[in-house]
């Protein structure tokens, strides 16, 4: 089944709503709490990234007994150097965002650590699509 969310790009205080909703949905489905946490951490990071860097976008969670696939798509500036962005501590977030405790350069590495599969499709000036797969042992 698929769950679809719009992620507004103008309010950082609202960022994380989609991942919270997905988390609650997975709880209703009886998914293992450890796996829910992996989805939550990975999706939350990606959602925050989308708000900070790309002005929001859409989030979709496709849930099957075997896996949870989260696709976050935006029409933001794209990622110039993906290898660099994957390094811990590297960040292009502005100071105003860092002051709120975000933008520590841990986002993408953290997603990778929690995902079984991570695919990033990015084009400068066009946008980024992040696909996160978390396999479920419950299924």
């Amino acid at each position: 089944m698929k769950l679809h969310y719009e992620v507004p790009g103008d309010d950082l205080s609202l960022a994380g709503r989609a991942s919270t909703e997905v988390k609650r949905a997975l709880g209703r489905l009886g998914i293992d709490p450890v796996e829910i946490k992996r989805v939550a951490v990975a999706m939350y990071e990606a959602e925050i990234n989308m708000v900070i860097h790309a002005g929001g976008g859409t989030a979709e969670a496709d849930i099957s007994p075997e896996r949870v696939t989260v696709v976050l798509a935006d029409h933001g500036p794209g990622i110039a150097d993906l290898d660099l962005a994957m390094q811990e501590g590297y960040s292009t977030a502005p100071e105003s965002v860092r002051e709120m405790g975000f933008g520590a350069g841990m986002g993408l590495p953290n997603i990778k650590r929690n995902a079984d599969d991570l695919h990033i499709d990015t084009a400068l000036g066009l946008g980024t699509t992040v696909t996160i797969v978390i396999k479920l042992k419950t299924g």
Partner: protein, 431 residues
């Protein structure tokens, strides 16, 4: 009922008007209004007492013991929560308040605030030796532990496995002060509804040493009336560090790790746990989370306003800090304060044990939700349109329980009636 479904919060059906105020405030969406009365879903209730606090008709109450319960025991020991001290003006000293409890019929008194100091030390020791990653979550608030069991099962392994100050105090009474005696009854004087539940179905222990829980509000008047005439004796042993557990920050300060977060009020507690589950909290070692506003002083069984009570407790802390702490009434050396067993998840929010069935139900839920007005009006008896959609998917409500859906159906029916009225039997239709 068992440990997973027993809860101390109950409804007085004679007082409930079915007004739907409580359903909106329940953090686990455990209340529905059915047939003009609120009803609590046993497996979801975490005993936080929010509904007791918000009910405009005082129809919600906790199943605590009356003062008359003392009669069951020849020797009865009061273990008052430090919050009790905040209910009275500072002109009444802690010694006087404890003396007042003796005047009400208790044979002895041991302060939970004093036991809290031991618990703080045990917590600090356990965290210093703990393997694995924090932040560790205090298990002192029973409603918070239940909240984790129902809503945040992935965080259960972060709980500090140390007994609560109430349980520690009760064990000191039974194992150290009066060992081997069966005629001793230990009564917690409680600000908290959830403590009633954990005195019967303890968290982290197989059997609780507490025999009864009496609400502060149920002893308040009697105590208030005897206080002026009580003769002061040196009964208080707790220092400022222990007394401060009555309010938010008290426990963190007593545990002493500067990398702590203190949070009170169930909505903000949930916010912190969401952040923790999302991996957002870094460089935090300890989380003191208390379900009630401002901490235990905000408990549903208290009398005084939480913030007035906190100010009084703080004033007492300042005064007590200047005095030399009295020696302990009994040695607690070697007392086991660690949990005997863990707590497990309560899948009360799961739609169905079979995941495929749960998915089908969730698809229905999403479909129903998209057809609802989204006003969260509460007329259906559920706290929100989303919760109502879930009830429909679970087969616990009918779509026409939504007053808007019902109206839609009535309109369709009316249109059909008008259409039918226009039809003529073929034999009469002359046109």
């Amino acid at each position: 009922m068992d440990g997973a479904t027993f809860h101390s919060v109950t409804l007085d059906p004679a007082k409930c008007t079915g007004c739907t105020t409580c359903i909106r405030y329940c953090p686990t969406e455990a209340i529905r209004v059915r047939k003009g009365r609120a009803s609590i879903m046993d497996d979801r209730c975490i005993d936080c007492g929010e509904c007791i606090r918000v009910c405009p008709h005082s129809a919600k109450k906790a199943l605590s013991d009356p003062l008359a319960a003392l009669e069951r025991f020849p020797l009865r020991v009061a273990i008052p929560a430090p919050t009790l001290y905040g209910q009275f003006d500072e002109k009444f000293t802690v010694d006087r308040i404890l003396g007042g409890l003796l005047a009400l019929g208790f044979s002895d008194v041991v302060e939970v605030a004093w036991a809290a100091e031991l618990v703080a030390q045990a917590t600090a020791d356990w965290m210093a030796a703990a393997e694995g990653e924090g932040p560790w979550i205090s298990s002192a608030c029973p409603a918070v532990v239940k909240l984790l069991q129902v809503r945040f099962p992935s965080l259960l392994d972060k709980l500090v496995p140390v007994l609560s100050p109430m349980e520690a105090a009760a064990r000191i009474v039974k194992e150290r002060l009066y060992p081997g005696r069966s005629d001793v009854g230990v009564f917690f004087i409680s600000p908290c509804a959830a403590k009633v539940t954990v005195s019967r179905y303890p968290q982290g222990a197989r059997v609780s040493a507490v025999d009864g829980v009496i609400g502060i509000k149920d002893v308040y008047l009697a105590l208030r009336n005897v206080l002026p005439s009580v003769e002061e004796k040196p009964l208080g042993h707790a220092g400022a560090r222990g007394i401060a557990w009555a309010h938010i920050d008290g426990e963190s300060d007593a545990v002493g790790d500067p990398r702590g977060i203190s949070v009170s009020g169930i909505a903000d507690v949930i916010g912190v746990f969401e952040a923790l589950e999302n991996g957002k909290l870094r460089n935090v070692a300890f989380i003191e989370a208390l379900a009630c506003p401002a901490g235990c002083v905000g408990g549903p069984l208290t009398v005084e306003n939480p913030y007035i009570a906190r100010a009084r407790i703080r004033a007492r802390e300042r005064r007590i800090a200047l005095l030399e702490q009295r020696p302990s009434p009994v040695s607690a050396e070697g007392l086991e304060l660690l949990w005997e067993e863990g707590v497990s998840a309560r899948p009360a929010l799961r739609l169905d044990p079979d995941m495929l069935k749960a998915m089908i139900m969730m698809e229905e839920m999403e479909q129903v939700l998209s057809s609802l007005p989204g006003l969260d009006c509460g007329s259906c008896g559920a706290p929100s349109c989303r919760a109502f959609a879930e009830d429909v998917a679970r087969g616990q409500a009918l779509i026409t329980d939504c007053i808007f859906k019902l109206r839609e159906n009535v309109r369709k029916l009316a249109e059909q009636l008008i259409d039918m009225e226009r039809m003529q039997p073929p034999g009469l239709d002359r046109e």
